[in-house]
């Protein structure tokens, strides 16, 4: 056998006596040069002669040996164990063993640099002794070599270990999330080393919290609890005490009305109404609540009619800072006896959880303020003070989210209060340490009718919104998140005003009545329509049975629950109602969702929040068709179906970007990375004077273009237009469309809308969110259509302003 090994070594060496480098993978091996081929032939003949002497032969060539005598050279190999070792200065010795195969030469050992000592410089096994002292941590290479092959090991020589610590030594961890623990070794010279990956990690109770070999700790179950995580390294150990953030919400909390709060978790329950909803049509917050998010650390203000600050299901979440404009006190409790809107709004945001009474707010760990602007004699001053402009009485400048469950019902185009608009701008610019307060606003309840005088028969017959969300001047501001309402079956609530100013939708419910109390069909036939018995929203009400929406004496209430007479007895105190509804309900539910998002990531700006909501909203009523009508010159699309813009965002005038999806929004918030940069706007870009007669009741309408410059090409966050009409237009006739340079169309005002008649010139200001994310530059086209016979007008000019980044 020996000669075979020698032959192998001869093959393994090139003609210069060096080992041939391995052939690169994937690279063709070159053939030998003619000179090399000649030498190989000579070598081969010598080799074959030697083999022939032993009775063997060669393969190939002119004197091939028998196949049974093919040489299969076996390479020498050398391995060393261990290949990595960590030793301490002045610490114990470490033994290294080298194994040489296919040869029997003596193994030689060398140390580079010469830090520490070896027990011997040759032999199969040696021991390494670390130095007694060292100036700094170092690594030493121990090399074993024999028969022309070698192997090496790395020895990390560290200072003497003084302690091991784990960071954090105590922490909370949420279900669905994990916490990365880090082990730090401190040496006798106070230097430190991260030994997280070298240490051993164990959990005191892996069924509660497990820990990976790399120190990543994760709740193992779906309930609360705690565990001690121990890290061990070189005889030292340290511990970290981890507690699971307790889950909240459905299935966990002891709130008797929570199972009927379908907006939180829709199981197809009725909310004490006659009819039931559809399972799953809720705000999708299960994972968020399981992780224990409840809006902690988020202060929410309701700008509303009042807030019963001593209410049993609210008091614990009411923070100092509320204000009563009526008596200039810090207690905005309403003295009305027929229901306090604000108290019900407040419960939807932050009713106390797990307290054995009532239900739960969407963000039950958030804190509440109220400024009763709505029930006061409203003024610019009170509005500015309520929207963040006041450091005291009220204290509104520390609010994170403002909920505005109100709106202006107007039949004529109006502008907003410039001071209020300045305050909105200030709020998004300066509050929350410059991240901006988040303003949430109800879209309106005027789809079928609204309180200002005037009819809605045209819109009702057509199936479009009589009141457009754009009619309220504050809905047109990019600072507001305008919210539409959804019923318990996941479609638009019957009353919810539509319009391109809507940002998202949230549950708002219907009317929540009980048919027997209506004498059969009375409610549906006369008062509320067929949705009378569909679920409304269960929330807080003024306390006691002699005031509020729930009153035992109110025989005009068609809700058994509101009469305090529901068999389960959960509203015997009349402190709750099951008939709250409106975009007044949808807005605070969205507000609560935003509080959850901000708890998950308090560093989000107000625009980040809008971006997250738009990006994660759930598309509802996906197959809703376009609304069309026949006008002169053809069929006119009076309301679009869902459209997807060129940036990939889906939008519908009834729903905005869709229903708030809490779990998706919170998940995006936790890993948020988008950079929206600085909000900019193009300023108003106006047309030259026009004189375009709008043909009466004609689908063709009139169109006009405006070019938005190519630089800067803003990524759109909102588009505002002003359309000026001359003559004596009946504004209710007109539909206004806008088409972007990318070809996306948005209807900003529906034909047969709820506006009345005015004498021109009048400028309609309208906002659309449908172009979110598209590029602003290029030609924009406005189209104005007169959808009703009579009262013709003229398009005399228009202008556009784009907000974006």
């Amino acid at each position: 056998m020996r000669h075979r090994l020698i032959f192998f070594r001869a093959f393994a060496l090139n003609t210069r006596g060096r080992r041939r480098p391995p052939h690169p993978p994937g690279k063709a091996r070159r053939g030998p040069t003619p000179a090399k081929a000649a030498w190989r032939a000579i070598f081969r003949q010598v080799l074959c002669a030697a083999l022939a002497f032993q009775g063997a032969g060669c393969v190939g060539g002119n004197s091939s040996p028998p196949a049974s005598l093919v040489v299969s050279p076996t390479p020498a190999s050398l391995t060393i164990n261990p290949v990595i070792a960590a030793v301490m200065v002045g610490g114990a010795t470490t033994t290294f063993t080298a194994t040489l195969e296919n040869t029997s030469e003596t193994i030689q050992w060398a140390l580079t640099p010469a830090v520490g000592t070896l027990s011997d410089t040759s032999g199969a096994s040696i021991t390494y002794t670390p130095p007694a002292t060292a100036a700094s941590q170092t690594s030493v290479i121990l090399t074993a070599s024999a028969a022309g092959v070698s192997a090496s090991a790395r020895i990390d020589v560290t200072r003497r270990l003084a302690s091991v610590t784990v960071t954090p030594d105590a922490a909370s961890v949420r279900i669905g999330e994990s916490v990365q623990l880090e082990a730090l070794a401190t040496h006798d010279d106070s230097s430190t080393s991260d030994v997280t990956l070298l240490a051993t990690w164990t959990s005191s109770d892996p069924t509660v919290i497990s820990v990976s070999p790399s120190g990543n700790a994760t709740p193992a179950g779906l309930t609360g609890g705690s565990a001690t995580i121990t890290v061990a390294f070189s005889g030292w150990s340290a511990t970290s005490t981890l507690s699971i953030v307790p889950p909240i919400g459905p299935g966990v909390d002891d709130d008797p009305l929570l199972p009927q709060q379908w907006h939180i978790q829709n199981t197809g329950q009725s909310g004490y109404a006659q009819n039931s909803g559809a399972s799953g049509e809720d705000i999708s917050a299960a994972a968020t609540y399981l992780a224990g998010y409840g809006g902690s650390g988020v202060k929410v203000a309701i700008v509303d009619t009042g807030l019963e600050i001593a209410h049993e299901d609210l008091a614990a979440n009411v923070a100092p800072g509320s204000w009563n404009f009526l008596d200039r006190s810090s207690d905005p409790t309403s003295t009305t006896t027929t229901g306090d809107h604000g108290t019900s709004v407040a419960g939807l945001i932050a009713a106390v959880r797990n307290n054995g009474v009532g239900g739960m707010g969407v963000a039950p760990l958030a804190t509440l303020n109220c400024y009763n602007y709505i029930s006061s004699n409203q003024s610019s001053e009170k509005l500015v003070m309520s929207l963040g402009g006041s450091p005291a009485n009220p204290r509104s400048d520390d609010v994170w989210v403002f909920n505005q469950s109100y709106g202006i019902n107007t039949r004529t185009p109006i502008a907003g209060d410039p001071l209020a608009e300045a305050q909105y701008l200030d709020g998004v610019t300066n509050l929350r340490n410059g991240l901006g307060a988040v303003y949430v606003k109800a879209g309106g309840n005027g789809f079928s009718s609204f309180s200002a005088s005037g009819g809605c028969t045209g819109a009702n017959a057509l199936g479009t919104s009589c009141q457009n969300a754009n009619m309220d001047p504050y809905n047109r501001l990019p600072y507001n998140i305008v919210v539409g309402a959804l019923d318990a079956k996941g479609k638009k609530s019957s009353y919810s005003s539509a319009g391109s100013a809507i940002w998202v939708s949230a549950p708002g419910g219907e009317f929540g009545l009980n048919a027997p109390l209506c004498g059969g069909s009375l409610c549906a036939a006369n008062y509320y329509g067929p949705v009378a018995y569909d679920p409304a929203i269960v929330t807080t009400d003024q306390s006691a049975c002699d005031k509020g929406y729930s009153r035992t004496s109110d025989t005009y209430s068609y809700s058994l629950f509101n009469r305090g007479a529901e068999p389960d007895g959960f509203n015997a105190s009349c402190n709750y109602t099951n008939s709250f509804n409106g975009t007044s309900s949808a807005a605070p539910i969205a507000t609560g969702a935003i509080a959850l998002v901000l708890e998950a990531n308090p560093s989000l700006s107000w625009r980040d929040v809008k971006h997250i909501l738009a990006s994660t909203a759930h598309q509802v009523d996906a197959t809703i068709p376009a609304v069309t009508t026949s006008l002169t010159n053809g069929t006119y699309v009076a309301e679009l179906p869902w459209t997807t813009n060129s940036a990939g965002y889906r939008f519908h005038n009834w729903y905005g970007f869709g229903r708030v999806d809490v779990d998706s929004a919170v998940a995006m918030a936790k890993t948020y990375s988008a950079n929206l940069g600085t909000l900019a706007n193009t300023g108003w870009i106006a047309s030259d004077p026009l004189s375009l007669a709008i043909p009466d009741k004609d689908a063709a309408g009139v169109t006009a273009k405006l070019a938005v410059p190519a630089s800067p090409n803003l990524a759109i966050e909102a588009v505002q237009i002003g359309v000026t009409l001359g003559g004596s237009p009946r504004l209710g006739d007109y539909g206004v469309e806008l088409t972007s340079p990318s070809g996306t169309k948005s209807i900003l005002l529906n034909i047969k809308n709820g506006y009345g008649s005015v004498t021109g010139p009048v400028t309609l200001y309208l906002t659309s969110n449908a172009f979110y994310g598209e590029g602003a530059a290029g030609d924009w086209t406005v189209k104005v259509v007169d959808g009703w016979a009579g009262f013709t007008g003229t398009l005399t000019s228009w202008k556009i302003q784009i907000y974006g980044h």
Partner: protein, 198 residues
């Protein structure tokens, strides 16, 4: 709570023909109170709209839980004098009222009323003056120099809100403020459009 919507729905269901007529006709603004025959006082601009103070009309602020009739009785006005509600105010006929932009003080206080020259809608003068100040201006000094009470200020938006210290014509006071170099703009505060619960 959508109570108002419910009420309007009932009205429309009971009188569809009326509703059709309202939609189809060139109906004007939000209210039908005739004002053309009322005496007119000074004109002013506020929130981009043009107003004119009315005579023979005043407004009274309701107290919490006070009915319209109760508020009217408090100012010795007949129940039938009511023209319309405007948020927390009741606007009523008062033949003796002169067309001045002067608000009263005290339990029987009444407010001046103006008409929007564009829409014909009524608006109540809240008694406040909405002022935008020049940067660095001291609102307290402005108040002192114009015999005003500083109601509150929002320094970041350079806004200050004043009331006359005594019964003064608000339009004239606003005009005086507008001539002050420390003031960027001064407007009489009105409430024409009321924010309502949705």
């Amino acid at each position: 709570m959508n109570v108002i919507t419910i009420a309007v729905s009932l009205l429309l269901l009971l009188a569809p023909a009326l509703a059709e007529a309202q939609q189809s006709s060139p109906a004007s603004g939000e209210q039908a109170t005739p004002t053309s025959s009322l005496p007119k006082g000074p004109a002013f601009r506020s929130r981009g709209e043009r107003y004119q103070v009315l005579g023979a009309v005043r407004a009274v602020s309701r107290k919490p839980d006070e009915s319209d009739a109760g508020a009217l009785a408090r100012v010795s006005a007949a129940r039938g004098a009511r023209l319309e509600g405007k948020g927390g105010y009741v606007i009523y006929r008062d033949a003796a009222a002169s067309p001045t932009a002067t608000n009263e003080a005290g339990d029987g206080a009444t407010q001046a009323v103006a008409v929007n020259a564009g829409t014909g809608a009524l608006a109540v003068l809240t008694g406040n003056l909405n002022v935008r100040l020049a940067p660095g201006a001291d609102p307290a000094a402005v108040a002192r120099d114009h015999n005003l009470v500083l109601v509150s200020a929002a320094p970041r938006i350079l806004a200050a809100f004043f009331r006359p210290a005594s019964a003064q014509d608000l339009v004239q006071v606003a005009a005086g403020l507008s001539r002050d170099a420390r003031v960027t703009s001064a407007e009489v505060d009105v409430i024409e459009h009321v924010a309502e619960p949705q």
